[in-house]
Symmetry: none
Subunit: 220 residues, 2 copies
DNA sequence: AGCTTTCGTTCGTCAAGTCGAACGGATGGA
DNA sequence: TCCATCCGTTCGACTTGACGAACGAAAGCT
C-alpha cells in the first residue's frame, strides 16, 4: 500500500482537505505527552508498539499473525509502518499480545520522571492565576490509588516492591522529601513531582517537619 | 526509551485466544466488564460510544464529520453499527470529540466526598512519623490523570463538565481553596481532600496565594 | 552437502472502508 | 407560500486494507 514514508501526509483522496484531519491529541488526558500528531505519526507509533510488544512476548511475526488470526503479510506491513489498520485488526493483535488495546496506541512511558514545580505541560487558564499541569496521563488500564502522605523527618521509609507493573507518582505538597528508587532518590520541594517504578525498592523520606505529599499508586 | 515496561506486565505468552479472531478482551484490565466479544460486538460498542459522545458534545453528524475531516456518510455508517473503522478514522473522531481514544472502545459507565486532613483510613507505619491515607481506591478500569494545580486567589475557575463518568479528586497541598460542584463547593485547607463528579459543572478557586493542589481526574 | 522448517517480505486479488453526491425530511426565514 | 439550510441516510466510484501464495534468506536437522 504505498507507504507514506514519512513524507507528506498522503492522506487519501481528499485533495482539498478542508477540515484537515490532523489530530492533535484527543483531550488532555488522552495519550500523554507524546501526543501522536498526524495520521502518519499515529501509524508509526502503532507499528512501533506492535513490534515492541511482539518482541517482548517473544513471538515471531508468523506466530503472532497466526494467534491473532490475521495474515502475516498484514502484520508485516503494519510493522513496516504502512497502512492504517482497522480496529478489528488492532484488537485482534491486542488480544494475541495480551496487551490492552490502548497500549498499542499510547507511546511508551519513561521510567523515572521528575517534573519540577513550574515545569511540565501547563494548561493556563485565561486568567493567569490558575495553572494546571498534567503530570501523568492515563496509561492504558492503569488503576490508581490515591494516598495522602504526612511524614516527619526521621527514618527513611523503604517500601518493599509492590507487584510488577506498579508505578508510583509522588507530588509533594509541602515540606521537602527524598523519594524515588532506593538507588537514586530525588529530592523534592513543594510542587515537585516524580514517578518511578513501584516494583523495585524505593524510599520516601521527609526532610522537613510537616511534609505533605500525594502518592498515586498505579498498578497496571 | 524502550519501555522497560515498567515492570512486567503480566505476562507474555498467555496464549489465550489462540485461533481466530474473536477477541475476548485484551489483557486484564482491558475493557472492563463489558468485554466486547467478537468483532461485531466491538463495532456495536464503538458505534454506541461515538453516538453517545457526539450527543454529549451536542454535535450533529455533519458537524462532527466536518470537524473530524471524515465524510459524514462514513460517520453515518459507523453510528449505524456498520463497518470496521480504521484507527485513523477513529482517532480523528476522538480528536474532534475531545475524547481519549480508548474511551470510544471501552464500554460506558458515575457524589461529593471530603476527607479532612487527619481523617480517613490511615495506614501508619511502624514509625509514627509516617502516615499514608488512602483517599480513593481504584475503581476497576478507571483511568486517572494526575494534575498539579497552582492557583492564586482571584476569579473562580469554572470547569466545563467533562465526559460522563468523570470524577475529580482534589487534594490540597498548600494554601486554601474552594473546590467542588458549582452548587456546593467545599473549602479546603492543606491536606484536605474532596472528590466530586467531573461531569457536572464544578469550580476551583484559590483563597490564598500560592495555593497548590493535586487533581486526579478519573475517567472511567 | 542436501533437505526441511521458519523467518520476514513482496505481489496480485478480493473485499471493504471511505469518499462525494444526491436524496427526502425537518426547520426557519422572507 | 416558497425558498434556503440543515439534518441524517443511501448510492456508486474509488481507494485501500486484508488475504493467500510465492519469494529469498537463515537456521536446524539427517
Amino acid at each position: 500500500m504505498t507507504v507514506n514514508d514519512d513524507g507528506a501526509d498522503p492522506q487519501s483522496g481528499t485533495p482539498d482537505t478542508p477540515g484537515t484531519r490532523t489530530p492533535g491529541t484527543p483531550s488532555l488526558g488522552a495519550s500523554g505527552p507524546g501526543s501522536p500528531g498526524s495520521g502518519s505519526e499515529l501509524i508509526g507509533l502503532i507499528s512501533a508498539s506492535i513490534r515492541r510488544e511482539r518482541e517482548r512476548a517473544g513471538l515471531s511475526m508468523a506466530e503472532l499473525a497466526r494467534r491473532a488470526g490475521i495474515a502475516k503479510s498484514t502484520l508485516s506491513q503494519l510493522e513496516a509502518g504502512a497502512g492504517n489498520p482497522s480496529v478489528e485488526t488492532l484488537w485482534a493483535l491486542g488480544v494475541a499480545l495480551d496487551v490492552p488495546f490502548s497500549r498499542l496506541i499510547d507511546p511508551p512511558r519513561p521510567v523515572v520522571r521528575v517534573i519540577r514545580a513550574g515545569e511540565g505541560p501547563v494548561t493556563h487558564s485565561e486568567r493567569a492565576d490558575y495553572a494546571a499541569t498534567l503530570l501523568a496521563s492515563c496509561p492504558p488500564n492503569a488503576r490508581r490509588d490515591i494516598y495522602r502522605i504526612e511524614a516527619q523527618p526521621g527514618e527513611t521509609r523503604a517500601s518493599d516492591p509492590h507487584m510488577p507493573g506498579t508505578v508510583e507518582h509522588v507530588l509533594l505538597g509541602a515540606g521537602r522529601a527524598l523519594a524515588g528508587p532506593t538507588g537514586a532518590p530525588v529530592e523534592l520541594g513543594p510542587g515537585d513531582y516524580v514517578s518511578y517504578p513501584g516494583d523495585a525498592p524505593h524510599v520516601f523520606r521527609a526532610l522537613e517537619p510537616g511534609t505533605l505529599a500525594v502518592i498515586v499508586m498505579e498498578h497496571v
